[in-house]
């Protein structure tokens, strides 16, 4: 099967997110009140094939830990979907 994968990467809680902080001020300056807790992370998408949902899941999780996320400072999550193309 081929799956569409979406990986979401973000700095761990408590980690300073300079981009998020700066963006929050910018949005406020643009007149968007009540915007809070802005965080800027990565959204990585790709297609991958494998035998099963589980098998692909295991592989994607490994990819995240080895390359896509920096687990020292970032946490990640991912979603798989049957490729509908």
């Amino acid at each position: 099967m081929t799956a569409r994968v979406e990986v979401f990467v973000q700095l761990k809680d408590g980690m300073l997110d300079p981009q998020g902080k700066t963006l929050e001020h910018a949005l406020e300056a643009l007149g968007y009140a009540g915007v809070e807790d802005v965080r800027v992370g990565k959204w990585i998408t790709f297609a991958v094939d494998g035998d099963s949902h589980e098998e692909i899941g295991r592989r994607v999780d490994e990819m995240c830990r080895r390359l896509l996320a920096n687990t020292v400072i970032e946490r990640y999550s991912y979603e798989l979907a049957e490729d509908g193309r």
Binding site: P18, Q19, T22, L23, A26, A29, L30, V40
Partner: protein, 232 residues
């Protein structure tokens, strides 16, 4: 201090402001004037430079946040009214984000910041900033950027070339403008472009760093002389 007032915009994170200030001051008859990003008046300046650096840290996207600074409304109006506006490096990125110049500047194709001496071929002398060069002349300005990869759709690129609005192209020391001379993957080796009327020009390389042979090149002087004449 007398002379034609040339405004140099300082955003938080601008870091070539002093270099541009010195470059303008080095041109007889020009008087550099600071324009703070929070200001809403241009204090009577006759020309404007958006200097290089990392306005707002280049966070989110280079130039994305800076272009909403209060001063930018005035800068945009000044440009639309035909006033000479030069955007260098981060300044170029801000001009595209502000819609004063077409296209966008993406992350360098090599994904690395690149700083080096760079040859440029002058492809249009029809702007104030390039009129002191000969068409086809090679000039040497340093580049130093991480997001200088110029992109635009083919229609736009064709229009830019057709209308002679490509002002500078990355070249090698022989004038070749092939991929080997391209430091960042820019479409068609484009290093700098002009708007329809030619009074707004943006370029990634740094003429402000090419004002003295002591530091490698003085080819940048022509750019600032042209700015002064257009402002006078």
């Amino acid at each position: 201090m007398s002379g034609v007032p040339i405004g140099i915009v300082r955003f938080p994170g601008t870091n070539c402001d002093q270099d541009v200030f010195d470059a303008v001051a080095a041109i007889d008859g020009a008087r550099p004037v600071w324009l703070w990003h929070k200001e809403t008046e241009l204090a009577g300046v006759r020309g404007i430079v958006l200097a290089g650096g990392f306005a707002y840290g280049d966070y989110l996207r280079a130039g994305a946040i800076a272009r909403f600074s209060p001063i930018m409304e005035r800068v945009i109006a000044f440009a639309r009214s035909g006033g000479p506006v030069l955007g260098i490096c981060n300044g170029f990125q801000i001009l595209t984000e502000a819609g004063l110049l077409p296209g966008a500047l993406m992350r360098n194709a090599g994904l690395r910041f690149v700083c080096r001496e760079q040859w440029l071929r002058v492809d249009s002398t029809a702007t104030p900033f390039s009129r002191h060069f000969r068409e086809g002349q090679l000039v040497r300005f340093p580049v130093a950027h991480g997001e200088g990869n110029y992109v635009a759709d083919d229609a736009t690129l064709d229009r830019l070339e057709g209308d002679g609005r490509v002002v500078f192209r990355y070249a090698d020391s022989t004038g070749e403008t092939g991929p080997l001379a391209n430091p960042n993957g820019s479409a068609r080796n484009i290093a700098g472009i002009a708007d329809e009327r030619g009074n707004v020009v943006g370029l990634m390389p740094h003429p402000d760093r090419a004002m003295s042979l002591l530091v490698g090149s003085e080819d940048g002087r022509g750019v600032f002389r042209g700015l002064l004449e257009a402002a006078a």
